[in-house]
Point group: D2
Chain length 356, copies 4
């Protein structure tokens, strides 16, 4: 039996969702919803069996709809998701899941009470590159993590309702949180806006952890070239993840530095390079969005927590909030409280991951 899905918001990303759910054998795209009639018309022309509506209520009351995928502007996520959960629907929300962590907690509580799936579309966690890196780190092959450095810059459209942090940050925060699997201790962010624009177009974010791990993010809408480069330094090996490489996106370097104390002078360190081979593993080419859509449908069908659940969304929003607070306080370091959802709980859930 197919699971009925409705997509709310038929813009650029909404169209991607429709296409991917459409191609799943286990799902049926029952309805689409948008304020823009012309947009709905175009959609129906391609997907004639889909029912279009401009009224969100129609979706909530339609019994063919089991799950609702929300791809509207961020400011509407919370209200739409809340109403959908209250109407007994399973919910998938685009990133970032909400504008505040309190809103996410409310959705999580509601989903738990109604026994419905609450999922966030952190698409990158479904890419072959991130899945492979997760595997390499989780298996211990990389060793203890020393640093995580990410650059996501390009000539981006300055947006009229958000800044570069909330636009690009969710991608990298979700990848980092997934890969590092550690509790961040504090966050510090610097940003600048230009061009008489009220929204920041460039931001640097530093996250500190309970051990010596440091994560850093460069987010930029004003770069003349596109860069998508992440370095992960481990005590045994190091990773380079270049998302712009057509096939060799992940490179594993058997490299590092060895340090030992000078036997003659204890205060002096003797450091040496360790240079070894580089391996670029073959990655599968399944579209990440397809796997994400599949995960939503499977979670509903199997009545289980999805990989990118409310906790995942909450943890990312919490970092965004704190980074925004630091920006507004001129780069002051913001301490992060213990998260409401402890790691141990989450880690066990991660076991129900998609298989390689």
């Amino acid at each position: 039996m197919q699971i009925g899905v409705a997509i709310v918001g038929c813009g650029y990303w909404g169209q991607n969702l429709i296409r991917n759910f459409w191609q799943l054998e286990t799902a049926a795209v029952a309805m689409v919803c948008d304020e823009d009639a012309a947009c709905l018309e175009r959609t129906v022309r391609c997907y004639p069996t889909v029912k279009a509506t401009r009224h969100f209520e129609e979706i909530l009351s339609d019994t063919r709809v089991d799950g609702v995928a929300i791809a509207t502007p961020v400011s509407t996520h919370f209200q739409l998701a809340r109403r959908a959960l209250e109407a007994g629907k399973h919910v998938l929300v685009e990133k970032p899941i909400c504008q505040t962590s309190l809103e996410v907690l409310e959705l999580m509580e509601l989903a738990q009470r109604r026994r419905r799936v609450l999922m966030v579309d952190h698409t990158f966690l479904y890419t072959a590159a991130v899945r492979r890196m997760k595997q390499l780190i989780a298996s211990g092959e990389i060793g203890g993590l020393l640093y995580y450095d990410s650059v996501r810059v390009n000539l981006g459209l300055v947006q009229s309702d958000t800044n570069v942090l909330w636009d690009l940050g969710p991608h990298d925060f979700s990848i980092m949180d997934h890969l590092c699997d550690l509790e961040p201790r504090s966050i510090q962010a610097s940003a600048a806006s230009h061009l008489d624009c009220p929204f920041e177009d460039i931001a640097y974010v530093t996250v500190r952890f309970q051990n010596s791990l440091m994560a850093h993010f460069h987010l930029n809408w004003l770069a003349p070239v596109k860069v998508r480069l992440t370095l992960v330094g481990g005590s045994k090996k190091m990773l380079v993840y270049d998302d712009l490489e057509p096939s060799e996106k992940v490179k594993v370097y058997d490299r590092g530095i060895t340090v030992r104390h000078d036997p003659e002078r204890r205060s002096r360190m003797l450091a040496g390079y360790r240079h070894g081979d580089m391996l670029a593993p073959q990655l599968d080419t399944t579209e990440a969005l397809r796997l994400m859509a599949q995960e939503f449908i499977s979670s509903i069908g199997e009545n289980r927590t999805p990989l990118t659940d409310g906790v995942s969304g909450y943890r990312v929003v919490r970092l965004l909030e704190a980074a925004q607070q630091s920006i507004e306080q001129n780069g002051r370091e913001i301490e992060l409280a213990e998260p409401v959802f402890a790691r141990s709980v989450r880690t066990s859930r991660l076991a129900v991951s998609i298989t390689e």
Copy 2:
């Protein structure tokens, strides 16, 4: 008539200095000095007319020596330079010129009093790439500077007497200070050390200016790959400077973002991309170190201030000091006082630059 030069410190960089001064027709390498006898012997084998000594005093008392080039460990720079100036020698010091800005001021005062040249080897300012970027920025072609982002990472030897900030930072701080030609207002830095090593091996530094310009630096000894990439965003054009490119090191992008207010809704911004051609100017291939050596000799001969004078060295050390202070205070933003040497003075001196 040739100007007599002595090189103090015959290690890796000292050898480069000897080779470059040796090849100048206007200079004569009169002496070399090092603690290590074997090193002196090797040097003399290649440069048989050069006199070798293990005693710095011999250099100071030798009348054939007009200028002294100091390529010893940083902790010795100040004392050696001071003694050389006091002995009436012109002085060239490797970067960073001193360990504190007070030391630099003392050397500057001394040099002025003794009417001697005090120069620092900020080699990168003599590269064709930086000279071309300076020209592009100074001519107004790039427009007002919006951001300056620099990445200098590789698998570097963890050093036993300094951290990554003081090792790699002088390169990028000197380039940035030269190109931006603005007064920094504050500095903030985060760093981490690993491997039981007391010295930081990764550092992120943010510099704020009196306008909205923000500069950021990523310095890293633990990266599996080498990156030397600087992005400079201007209001008219943007620069990408990749020092690892064999020939196209500087790329000028006729790109940017245009923003205007929505005539219908004043609060809303309409932003658009501006995409234009990319130009990679042909760069000359003269070795930068040769030009640097030439500048030292010419400054002495013409009795003038060199491009990379004491002020240049002072401004870089001031940034290093403040960044170090921020690191030690967990990333607190450090306000920078008005520099002792005002911009206007310095700018005029820059006019006596090497010609393209």
Copy 3:
């Protein structure tokens, strides 16, 4: 009024054609035809207003169909195109247009007699990169052409009915013929097959022209990496066309070699480098296939010859035929007769090109 189009062959490329004609306001996709019923069903699901048939005759007799786009295996091109032209339809054929040049001539004659458009899908001629290179060469900016070197290699699927020459060659032959606009004089080709396969998987082709221009092609299905690199040497400037570059696909180098006779010894040449800037022009991002579809519809509507007409298809097949002949004769140089269609005629037609 819209022009009715039928697509024959609903495989990978056929789907691309449907999608592009579908999006044109001036065209209406009236019918699709394929032997495979499942494939037709999938197509109709997405394009519900399209009539599907397994019988080519139905297309020929349907009055809503003005033009027929043929995306079937090469061996069927001639028969299907001939029948469509005889039925009074305009015809667009995938590359290569036919298996022999005689077949192309027959189609051309038929199209002329029936006053119908005959067009071949040499898609690359509609890319922004090739259009810009055409402009640069035609304007004289590059100077006289000295050489044309093309590499198109990757790990390709060894096909069961054709070799690498007929699979990849049409792309590069059509680009070269378009850009060089000169009469080839002879062709020579070497190829090899491996893996017990009857079809060649690697081929090298050299084309000589009436002047000293030489064109060379490396076609390879067995390469571990993908390369799409064309070098065009001109007497004034040189082009590098890298189709795998995401945005800077065309680079114009102001470079060359200058040669003059040594005034002292007349037999001796003095040669010097000329090194200048590199410019990567901004290219528009319209999908080439969209422009190609548009050109077919416009040609029909305006009753004119398309850019990639029968002559274009004929000239490419003539080169493929001769190259194949050379392969079969162990690399013997094959002289090319004067083409049936003189350059002058064709050049004038090229004036009716798509505008930049």
Copy 4:
């Protein structure tokens, strides 16, 4: 005891030889010889213990000279090498060793009679990249060789006494001959000259072997960009050798194509990709020229045949001669006779290779 060496020809490459022999503990640079007195003077300034002469005879009669390294224009190689061997000296000659294969044979015969080392400087065979590829191929890891494709192009100085084939060809022919270790059966070459120059500036060469292996070379002095790329296709794995990569010069791709017959239709092939990991082995960074110089000295000291002996020089000149003949006959395929020196003999000698 040190072996005495004289370098004849103190130009660009001669200086490299002097520097490398100078640094060997087992060698003593006794003399240098050049027609140009100024050049000799500059050399002696740097290497004060070396005796300089403009007369080749002085070298031959000096008993401190055991081996003579010849780095003069190609046209003088044979006469200088012959005279040195007749005088009882061991001889190292720059590439190409001679202008004709007959000359090489005469030198080989002479060297054998006088029991002296005859060696050619095929430097690339001493690089870490080529040594690693040799190891990979010889060990069987790559499988049977399917093709060898090499591109060596740049903006080169058009030379006044040779063409691009004889200038660049020796590099690639020597690497290919070393790696493939098979008897070439025929050679075919096309070339063109431009710019009123009598010498070809672009050449394509195809070499056929007794099995289906095909080797191809693109040599070009007129390319705006520098390319040094070799692809080696094997039945098990494939190699990409990019000499411009700073560290990852050799990449081993676990990739290929599998072909099997369709069980239903015997004439039809079913082909599939095989996509696996890529490995870039860590390469040592010893300068190749140092190893080459060492090999000359060791061969003399150990009274053995060097890796790049007369046979190696002969085999390369034989290919150059045949390729030149093909160029002069408009690309006719030239059959290669059985070489005077059979493979079996040579292969055994290769066992005395430098160790990894």
